[in-house]
């Protein structure tokens, strides 16, 4: 099968986006999108973990006994997430405190396992790695979109910098409190899914 690197990375951004079209990985999208700072770190972590786990699973694909396939994938993913968490605690301490348990929950993020099972187990290492990066990027894109809306409308800031001065601090903007609560992320993701299915009606 011919693989185009460009297709592997760009497809998951729009046409085959893991969140909006495969409907995977929504849970953590809710929790970490109240601030763009946490979004960026989470996005980076998920992208790297998905890419590397796809790479590892692909390397092992010819040696993996069928009976323990899922557990092997789990072990690889779990180890990578623990390592990612350790790096975050060493080099991005403040953000890791804010992300707290959600970094560990990357292990349960369906995207990582989903891509390993759907792609990496049957394909060579380099395309698998690119597929992982692409899907991670697709996830990141949605997270950034949701994060921009939630942080801007929920606290008047982007990356912690005030864009809309809050009324409580002498400005005019009364923040939309619901944007800081989890259901708002559901609504936003639902809206994005609706928009994407309208633009790409032929995608599954």
């Amino acid at each position: 099968m011919e693989f185009s690197a460009k297709k592997l990375i760009l497809d998951p951004l729009y046409q085959n986006n893991p969140i909006t079209l495969q409907i995977l990985g929504i849970c953590s999208a809710l929790a970490v999108t109240t601030k763009l700072e946490t979004v960026m770190v989470m996005a980076l972590a998920v992208t790297l973990v998905t890419g590397l786990s796809n790479l590892a699973v692909s390397w092992l694909r010819n040696f993996m006994p069928a009976a323990i396939r899922i557990i092997v994938m789990m072990s690889v993913i779990a180890s990578l997430v623990i390592v990612a968490d350790q790096f975050m605690r060493a080099y991005a301490f403040e953000v890791s405190k804010q992300l707290s348990v959600y970094v560990g929950l990357i292990i349960t993020n369906c995207i990582v396992m989903g891509r390993a099972e759907a792609f990496a187990i049957k394909n060579p290492p380099w395309p698998s790695f690119l597929d992982g990066i692409g899907n991670g990027a697709g996830y990141s894109l949605i997270l950034i979109l949701v994060g921009v809306v939630r942080e801007l409308l929920g606290s008047g800031k982007l990356f912690g910098l005030t864009i809309l001065p809050l009324a409580s601090e002498g400005g005019w903007y009364v923040p939309n409190g619901m944007m800081l609560l989890a259901p708002s992320a559901f609504f936003l993701i639902g809206g994005i899914i609706w928009a994407m299915k309208t633009i790409y009606p032929n995608m599954r």
């Binding site: 092992l60 006994p65 690889v76 180890s79 390592v83 350790q86 605690r89 301490f93 800081l180 609560l181």
Partner: protein
């Protein structure tokens, strides 16, 4: 099933586990020094923030300099007296009577480190103590909240409450970190009978009891109760109560 298929499965399992363990263990061990340094700097920052010395204007590199105003002391919670490091057995725990265990921590150490913050003008032993920072902790909804209360020299006025570690729900219980909520604690006092209470729906600032009250966190009943309980425990008789009483009586440390 072919015999070597089982053997092969087991071999691969063992190799995989070994490889994963090696990866995880190596990263943990190599990164630990940096993580410990981060934690210690973070603790210092938390103490400084609880004292109101580290503001948004400051940077990480300022922490060392600012911390020169802080003196660590050890208090024996059984007597309320300050003791020196050599006398302390850090392993000594006190198991709490369930009726007294407001913060649901079940046991606590007999000794606690507290931090005296001295005035800027003089940093030698004659510098007057402006605040005492008292570490507190207790059960919230999902996690134990770890924080510090800053007390004024009169031993009864709260100057601030900062939680430096917790796992409460972001946006709900997690609002304990919201500066606007934290501001309310400044100037509050413990009521002799009831301590401090977190009031649902907001405090009526005009009412006389308001000095003992702080707004509860909206949508976070259990976290709010947890905060109320842990403050009342630690500032009460079974926590730092004896220390605070002595301080109040002596008009200082």
């Amino acid at each position: 099933m072919r015999a070597d298929s089982v053997k092969r499965t087991l071999t691969i399992t063992v190799l995989l586990c070994f490889a994963c363990s090696l990866l995880v263990a190596t990263s943990v061990v190599l990164l630990r020094p940096r993580q410990e340094a981060n934690k210690s700097l973070d603790l210092q920052k938390n103490i400084l923030q609880a004292a109101g010395l580290f503001t948004s204007q400051h940077r990480e590199r300022d922490i060392d300099g600012l911390f020169s105003r802080v003196e660590e002391r050890i208090v024996d919670l059984a007597t309320g007296e300050m003791v020196s490091g050599e006398q302390v057995n850090w392993q000594e725990k006190v198991v709490l009577n369930p009726a007294d265990d407001l913060a649901k921590i079940r046991e606590r150490g007999r000794y606690q480190k507290i931090y005296l913050v001295r005035g800027e003008a003089s940093t030698d032993d004659n510098g007057t103590v402006e605040k005492i920072i008292l570490p507190v902790y207790g059960k919230g909804l999902w996690s134990t909240l770890y924080g510090m209360v800053a007390m004024a020299p009169d031993g009864e006025t709260i100057l601030g409450l900062t939680f430096y570690q917790h796992g409460e729900t972001p946006g709900l219980g997690g609002e304990v970190d919201n500066p606007n909520w934290k501001k309310q604690w400044v100037g509050k006092k413990m009521d002799l009978a009831k301590g401090v209470s977190l009031v649902k729906g907001g405090v009526n600032l005009a009412a006389p009891g308001a000095i003992h009250q702080v707004d509860a966190l909206s949508g976070a009943t259990i976290t709010s109760r947890g905060v109320e309980n842990l403050i009342n425990y630690w500032l009460g008789a079974n926590g730092y109560g004896k220390l605070l009483a002595a301080w109040e009586k002596n008009h200082g440390i």
